[in-house]
Symmetry: C2
Subunit: 542 residues, 2 copies
């Protein structure tokens, strides 16, 4: 936040000339350098007129006209959270009886316009996330169709507030009309390569909300460990987790993650990746994985899920039935990436099955055979599905609403995006956003420059791009280093997925991102620095 | 620590065959895979016989013969610290009246053999850091000439302790004779590019002690900020720090760092780098820096310290007089790296001075002129000095005991080490250990492989290598990410500087380092993971 102060004189000088600063973000961004909004709203007008906010008088309230009221605990919770972000330690409850000064902003009225505010619902791919925010004396008004738009507007409102030289909170006269460029804005965390304690996941959900991310893609299990505690198959985590008590997510842990995310407008999409990446499943489910052979005898090691046994599909049907009830989101991520054919090739029963099915020696056909049956199983649970790009590449027959997740950087992820959308499927981009990959210096710049619609295709194809995800695979991260490695680098993805396509100026972005990063730090998120400098409020943890 | 358990059966099996495991580290390292000592001691014998440690009965005590006793607060403090590391939350003061079992280890006796235990002293380059440790029933004995060796032995003792399946602490019958390969084993932290809160510095001193590092090279000021609060020149930090109150080290902060380090056997060597890297000094000391010119007029910007004014040297004399009393160590690091000549070249007064001195256009001569006078000033304070390699490269006349700090990776740091030592100077290596530079994957391996004596030279030259330092420059790190970025990567440097030259096996090192990293995590240091896996006690912070 120090930046605002440092540039306050410049800001005022410019403002006096222009009266109102108008930002339509097509070439007229100059005046916006001095604000710290992240991601940048779609439409924004600000003036040099500033109001003061008194922690003893300022309130966030339901507008009279709003369809939501004090019984909407999601909003009540959000009001308190944002009050805390803005005023921190300063007492809320000791209300002042003093009359407000003319220069005060006394309240923010939150007005939900739809008949159903969705207080107890879940956000979805179709959610209207737009909001309108007007800051003027004596009241600011935040208008949204539902609570999801209101949450996003509250974040923006809190970002407009800045400390003056006396430490007093100020906010400038402002009008904002905002909505996301893409509907799916996700973060992938991997709790298999390293177990992530609940508090790490929750802290990152907090940070996601600060960046207007709306999907937590939970890559919950993989080869290395199976921390998901299944009610139907408890042995999976008992034998597949790093430790059956200290390194698992109980059903109540999972519920807590989902509810914590919901309160912040974030969907939770679990990934249960099969038939590859399943080594840990084999510990608690004998017979599920393909026995690999060394010559004519089993070698004692196991490969992907055994696709030639009915028992594999019966297991998957029961397992995904549970998953479909535990996770309320309409989508499940089914993985389908990096299937190693060597074990299948080594196994005489698999080879015989290939022959019977007429697959020849094309193991991609066997993979497709498995995936096809799995998709039918999951479709029966009424869930939609996301899959990694290989499933599309290998020609599996897919439901029209399948979402293809593009992750391979080479040869050209842009070509893959073009092919996926040309075939009429929804596409999600992650290829340039594998944030586990690190290098020295300001790598956020290339992350920021990537654009999901930057490929050759028709308008109809571009519309099939529903968004993207920043992925932080877990080989080299755990509770000790995950959060600073993810933030503020993921913030670069956040702005790309939210703001207008024309918002691409790196040096302007740098100035805002420096402030945004300090804001995350002030709110308790150990977001790492972009470069030399300091924050007014440095990180208080270790 | 989980590793010890996992491999306990293997460990026992091997032990039974050999009776005593003998590790002289020249080819016979096999049995040592299963222990978690880091850095590996010089001489080590262990047996399969294990003793139990009861938190209610076990004590660390002064040996009767010891020259140190309960009035030695450094040791008393260390006893408590290591008891806490070994037993954690478990109560110390509720002593059991039950008789010890035969299988118990009831005490560790610490025996200081020299007449002066140095309880209230400071460690130095000449300190005898050797110790001998014998673990047997009913007592273990740690013998060292002074408290510094005892601190190192306490760390080793604590590393020998492991939890069995019941969570009970065990220790195997062991004899260790240990001493460091190099006398100077340092970590450089940079508190100028980002201010480092005191607790971050203290936490890293803790971690240093866990790795037997013995020098904290405090790169305390630089171009970006001047957080050192000087009593003589308070304006330096008032105007040169990021913030004069929240982003400075007060005299009492500095004292605390020095005392905290002393309690852990760590020297604090401050660096005040001149004549370059001094931009922040100029804010609080008008006239100190060289005014740069644009054509025939001053441009308003400033370059290195102005070497042509007597006032510059008068200032330095006063300043380093203060520094020499504030920091008790016998050495000060004077920097001297990366001096940019452009500003000097632009300044007509400097050019005139060059002419008068007969320097022609060789600005290295001007740099040497400055450094020479500075060295004389510092020598008058009775301090020794360290300098970056440029000072040697530029042919400055140096005292025989000057330590040359080699940092440039190219063209070949090995050649520089050869040249410095051929000229008879002590050399310190940092070139391969710039840990601020990061890349994806297990970069600790190359860090581990570098060896300070790996250059062409005589035995006498090799003896002039006094050690090395891992450097974590501050451009991209602050309180949010410093600690996990430094550890356990710096641990690789720690073993290189402590253990025998022959200890180079990467896969054995990996196994021990995984355990050592989990031990640091258990003790509250957020050391990042080396690769996939888990710790029995995961990090409890964020």
């Amino acid at each position: 936040m120090y930046f605002l102060l440092k540039f306050a004189p410049l800001f005022l000088a410019v403002s006096v000339c222009h009266g109102w600063l108008f930002g339509d973000f097509v070439g007229k961004q100059k005046e916006l350098d001095e604000i710290s909004l992240w991601p940048l709203p779609q439409k924004f007008q600000s003036s040099a007129v500033a109001f003061k906010l008194s922690p003893a008088r300022f309130q966030i309230v339901h507008a009279k006209e709003s369809s939501a009221g004090p019984s909407c605990s999601l909003l009540e919770n959000a009001f308190r959270r944002y009050f805390e972000y803005m005023f921190g330690e300063r007492k809320k409850h000791e209300k002042s009886r003093k009359k407000a000064f003319d220069s005060d902003l006394v309240e923010l009225k939150v007005w939900i316009t739809a008949a159903d505010p969705e207080c107890d619902g879940y956000p979805s791919l179709q959610t209207d996330e737009s909001y309108e925010l007007s800051v003027d004396e004596p009241s600011a008004v935040l208008k949204a169709a539902n609570v999801w738009g209101a949450l996003l507007g509250l974040e923006t409102f809190s970002q407009l507030v800045y400390e003056d030289d006396y430490g007093v909170n100020n906010i400038n006269k402002t009008v904002i009309s905002d909505f996301p460029r893409f509907a799916h804005r996700g973060i992938l965390l991997d709790s298999s390569r390293h177990f992530l304690p609940l508090k790490v996941i929750l802290a990152n959900l907090e940070a996601m909300a600060m960046n207007k991310f709306n999907v937590f893609h939970w890559h919950i299990v993989d080869d290395q460990s199976f921390p998901y505690m299944s009610r139907t198959f408890p042995e999976l985590s008992q034998k597949g987790a790093y430790h059956p008590f200290t390194h698992v997510y109980t059903p109540s842990d999972v519920k807590m993650v989902i509810e914590f995310a919901r309160m912040r407008g974030i969907r939770v999409i679990p990934e249960f990746d099969t038939p590859g990446h399943t080594e840990s499943w084999g510990n608690g489910m004998k017979g599920l994985l393909t026995p690999c052979y060394s010559g004519s005898t089993p070698s004692g090691t196991f490969g992907p899920v055994n696709p030639i046994l009915n028992s594999s599909y019966e297991f998957m049907a029961q397992f995904f039935k549970e998953i479909s009830t535990v996770f309320p989101d309409a989508y499940i991520h089914l993985g389908g990436d990096e299937v190693d054919f060597n074990c299948w090739k080594s196994n005489p029963d698999v080879r015989k099955f290939m022959e019977q099915q007429g697959f020849g020696t094309d193991y991609r056909k066997l993979e497709s055979f498995y995936i096809q049956r799995l998709l039918d199983i999951v479709a029966a649970t009424k869930k939609g599905y996301m899959v990694w790009q290989e499933v599309f590449d290998n020609g599996v027959k897919l439901k029209a609403d399948t979402q293809i997740h593009v992750w391979k950087e080479r040869p050209q992820y842009q070509d893959e995006m073009a092919q996926v959308t040309a075939a009429g499927f929804s596409a999600l981009l992650s290829a340039p956003w594998y944030l586990n990959r690190i290098s020295y210096g300001q790598d956020w710049v290339n992350i920021y420059k990537a654009d999901p619609q930057n490929f050759t295709g028709t308008d109809a194809q571009k519309k099939l791009v529903i968004g993207g995800e920043a992925c932080l695979w877990g080989e080299y991260v755990d509770a000790t280093n995950l959060t600073p490695r993810l933030w503020p680098r993921a913030s670069a993805v956040a702005e790309r997925l939210w703001s207008d396509k024309s918002v691409t100026d790196v040096s302007k972005a740098y100035n805002r991102l420096v402030q945004h990063r300090c804001r995350m730090v002030k709110r308790g998120i150990p977001a790492e620095p972009l470069f030399v400098g300091h924050c007014r409020h440095e990180y208080k943890g270790l």
